[in-house]
């Protein structure tokens, strides 16, 4: 491309101006007014130029290629260049529109709902699936804040919490009942993308699984009670051959273990259904610790030291039975995995962050790669050993669920061969002063 106008064009223009001026001068020279003649002709030329420039400007404003003015020379070249520019712009625009239409069609065809949100969480755009799943209306809902229409407390908290690593499940509509997974994703500058998928089927499958486990455990319980009952009666019978007494004892032990597993399965399935968070009543954590401590101390095989301390007299608002099973599971686990010369300590304390319950032992410890999976059901670090201690394999799963129901979380630290510590953190909102009536009664 040339930097400066084609010299030929410039020269031609200059020549034609000079020619005109010369012609003017020639005309003027008849009356000895050569200069005036030249000046008048030049002035007329100038005015004509202005008029043509104005015409060019008018055309440029319309930006219509079809109306391009006829021109030649320098101006003709100008017009041709502008037409070319307009054409390429039009082409680009058409390409972009086509791309946009394809993108729109693609997102519209997505089975998942997509909603684009502004920084203020206002609805900017959404696809057809989102309109169907969230019952949005194309006509009225653009510009509305998404949480004004999706008012489910779970979603409102999710949106305001600003932590969008996992989706949130909400209920939508009543007949038929529908469940949606909603996931927020950051994009652009502060904008958000809301992805919506139908989780009704998923939810149903989960519910069916939970029901199955609950029903199966329930059905297994009654026959097992009968077996355990007869075994107990038989064991008390002196008429039994000595050779059978060993197997008899083992059968009783295993029956008890099975009963333990079923009881844990049932309490787990109760924890899974029901309300996501318990309201509960005031619970004295220090007392719970003492009760479990006493139970463990009465065992024949136990660590040398089992001790609990309550450093705060604040109580915890929660479900008494659930918290009891949390404390029992943690302390019994600790006692089971700690040798006879070891120690188990439980401690309850309160600080600005909330209430904390730690159970620490000097037992065998857990390797770091097992720790993240410890709270899975039936997860065993050492299959032989844990079966021998008679655990159900569900204890820590129960602990995790109880904590979830109390807005708390579990922290596990362990060094192999040195011991482990399990710390439960409860939010400060769940702490209570010791109830007055009980305090008075205790005096």
């Amino acid at each position: 491309m040339k930097q400066w106008p084609d010299w030929a064009l410039v020269l031609r223009a200059a020549a034609s101006v000079a020619l005109l001026a010369a012609a003017g001068a020639l005309l003027g020279s008849f009356r000895d007014l050569a200069w005036a003649g030249a000046a008048i002709v030049l002035a007329i030329t100038l005015v004509l130029q202005w008029l043509r420039s104005a015409q060019l400007l008018r055309w440029l404003r319309t930006r219509s290629i079809a109306d391009a003015p006829d021109a030649n020379g320098l101006r003709g070249e100008l017009v041709a260049q502008i037409v070319r520019l307009l054409r390429s712009r039009q082409r680009r625009k058409r390409q972009l529109m086509r791309l946009l239409r394809t993108v729109r069609r693609a997102t519209a065809a997505l089975p998942e709902g997509v909603v684009m949100l502004s920084e203020q969480a206002e609805i900017a755009w959404f696809n057809r699936a989102a309109a169907r799943l969230l019952r949005l209306s194309r006509k009225s809902d653009r510009g509305l804040r998404i949480d004004n229409l999706l008012r489910q407390p779970e979603f409102v908290d999710y949106l305001r919490g600003r932590r969008y690593d996992a989706p949130v499940r909400v209920r939508m509509g009543m007949v038929p009942e529908q469940f949606l997974n909603l996931q927020l994703v950051h994009f652009g500058e502060g904008q958000l993308l809301l992805l919506v998928s139908d989780a009704t089927h998923e939810n149903q499958v989960e519910a069916m699984r939970k029901d199955f486990v609950a029903n199966a455990s329930h059905e297994l319980r009654s026959p097992l009670t009968v077996i355990a009952g007869y075994l107990e009666t038989l064991a008390a019978d002196d008429g039994i051959e000595p050779a059978l007494q060993g197997p008899m004892r083992e059968m009783r032990r295993q029956a008890e273990r099975m009963q333990g597993i079923i009881a844990d399965l049932l309490s787990l399935s109760r924890l899974e259904t029901g309300d996501p968070e318990v309201a509960g009543e005031p619970v004295d954590v220090g007392l719970l610790l003492k009760q479990v401590e006493r139970d463990i101390l009465s065992r024949q095989q136990r660590p040398r030291l089992v001790h609990s301390t309550a450093e705060s007299n604040q109580w915890l608002r929660g479900d008494h039975d659930q918290l009891y099973s949390l404390v029992r599971n943690l302390m019994e686990n600790a006692a089971n995995y700690t040798p006879a010369d070891g120690e188990v300590r439980a401690r309850w304390w309160v600080d600005a962050a909330g209430g904390h319950l730690a159970v620490t032992d000097t037992g065998i410890g857990i390797a770091a790669d097992h720790i993240p999976r410890l709270t899975e059901r039936f997860y065993r670090v050492d299959v032989g050993r844990s079966r021998a201690t008679g655990g159900s394999g569900l204890g820590l799963a129960i602990v995790k669920h109880v904590l979830q129901k109390h807005g708390g979380r579990l922290e596990i630290a362990s060094v192999e061969g040195r011991g482990s510590s399990f710390t439960c953190h409860f939010p400060a909102e769940r702490l209570l002063r010791r109830p007055a009536s009980r305090a008075a009664a205790a005096l």
């Binding site: 203020q120 407390p153 029901g274 309201a279």
Partner: protein, 240 residues
């Protein structure tokens, strides 16, 4: 910064304030809807702990009412809104009172559900009351949607459904009395069920009030004591 710019700036801040308050009202509405759903689930599933949890959590609704009320007072005092904005603030103050009452009714239903859970549940799991509950849940949802969209026609539709809620309540009441006469053993339970139906009917009334505030905000017309048909004609005449 010149004066026009300043006033533009203040008005934008003001709009943001209003939007913020509106969002809070709708979040409160969402919480109340959830409370109603859980209370009705507690009744249908005979889940006493869920019923008690609903009653226990009513304080959240009350807390939201207080904080929104305070914010509205602040807006009235510092911004002195006029016309449409003023109507919006007034409607908001009224709406949260109604929502708070809906919360109270949910608390009642939760407590009754917890009590009924201790008794033998009839095979139909209180079908009529559950159906009324669904209808009221839908009405409340539609009313809040109309509030979110400031959609007067939708508000009008939701307000109309209150009539069928009232009819259903009357039917349950009559049926309850018949059952009491037939079987005096059932008197206590029937009283409880009528109380639940009554609470639901009240919730329907509060939802209808919400709809009226929407129409008031949009059109500036107080429709609390006008017939719905008349309101509809007027809205149509305005070309809305």
């Amino acid at each position: 910064m010149d004066a026009a710019d300043l006033s533009h700036h203040t008005s934008r801040r003001f709009n943001e304030d209003l939007e913020q308050v509106r969002s809070k009202v709708l979040a409160m509405g969402g919480l109340v809807e959830e409370q109603l759903r859980r209370a009705m689930t507690a009744l249908a599933d005979a889940d006493s702990s869920l019923g008690r949890a609903v009653a226990h959590e009513d304080h959240k609704v009350n807390g939201m009412e207080l904080s929104i009320d305070e914010e509205c007072s602040r807006i009235l005092a510092t911004r002195a809104p006029a016309a449409g904005d003023l109507r919006m603030v007034v409607a908001t103050i009224k709406a949260i009172t109604d929502l708070e009452r809906v919360g109270d009714e949910c608390e009642k239903i939760g407590l009754i559900a917890a009590r009924l859970a201790g008794e033998v549940q009839p095979a139909d799991r209180y079908r009529e009351v559950r159906e009324l509950g669904r209808e009221v849940q839908l009405q409340l949802h539609e009313s809040l949607d109309a509030f979110a969209r400031l959609d007067a026609p939708q508000a009008l539709r939701a307000a109309r459904s209150d009539r069928s809620v009232d009819d259903a309540y009357d039917a349950i009441q009559r049926q309850g009395m018949t059952r009491m006469l037939e079987d005096p053993q059932q008197i206590r339970r029937q009283f409880d069920l009528i109380a639940v139906a009554r609470a639901l009917e009240r919730i329907g009334d509060h939802a209808k009030n919400l709809c009226e505030y929407v129409i008031y905000t949009v059109s500036g017309r107080d429709v609390r004591h006008s017939s719905l048909d008349q309101v509809e004609r007027e809205l149509a005449a305005r070309g809305g």
